[in-house]
Symmetry: C2
Subunit: 113 residues, 2 copies
């Protein structure tokens, strides 16, 4: 497995690429929040605990750039914007569920509740 670049960054293996798509503190919570269908910006804010505007908007932009989510703007005042998973985004959900499940297993093993 050789190195490769994607969107101007160098990667050493497929794992790093996966993490570019779903890694960091907020991407997986955002993707999970969209699993049932379109959600507006303000509702994402309310649904995802502890997230702030800068993180939400910058991660939404990045997920859009990577083709994981779609943005839909309604020309109303005040504005309304919906976000939804693309096909690629939907494919990531199964993996994110597994990552979440492993975390729950760890909580059990470590006696965390």
């Amino acid at each position: 497995m050789a190195n490769f670049t994607y969107q101007g960054r160098l990667y050493y293996n497929p794992i790093e690429l996966t993490m570019a798509f779903i890694g960091g503190t907020w991407k997986m919570p955002i993707l999970l929040a969209l699993r049932k269908g379109a959600v507006r910006y303000g509702d994402l804010r309310k649904t995802i605990p502890h997230i702030n505007d800068k993180m939400l908007y910058s991660q939404l932009r990045d997920l859009e750039k990577k083709g994981m989510i779609q943005r839909k703007v309604y020309q109303t005042k005040p504005p309304r914007v919906d976000y939804m998973l693309t096909e690629l985004g939907k494919k990531s959900i199964k993996l994110i569920d597994k990552i979440n499940n492993f975390g729950e297993y760890l909580m059990e093993v470590e006696g965390i509740e």
Copy 2:
């Protein structure tokens, strides 16, 4: 799902806990390198591309502290130290494979080779 702490850090959800165990640039490559059995320190260095001593040793310490790997020291000169997966570490391999597979899928989709 409320917040919780583990080893002195605060977590908001199980995903973050999983990433504490297998996340970062080097933990998954290290764990995969141990999947076939015990490997010595020096061989890990040679097997994992681009890793440096500081990253290897600090991630090994962290993985050990989290119960993912075991360390076995042979009292020889120069020293020999083997690392191997614990049961918990073995359980992580299936998940890491899935993360790797998703990355390979992304490479296909994005036309990276």
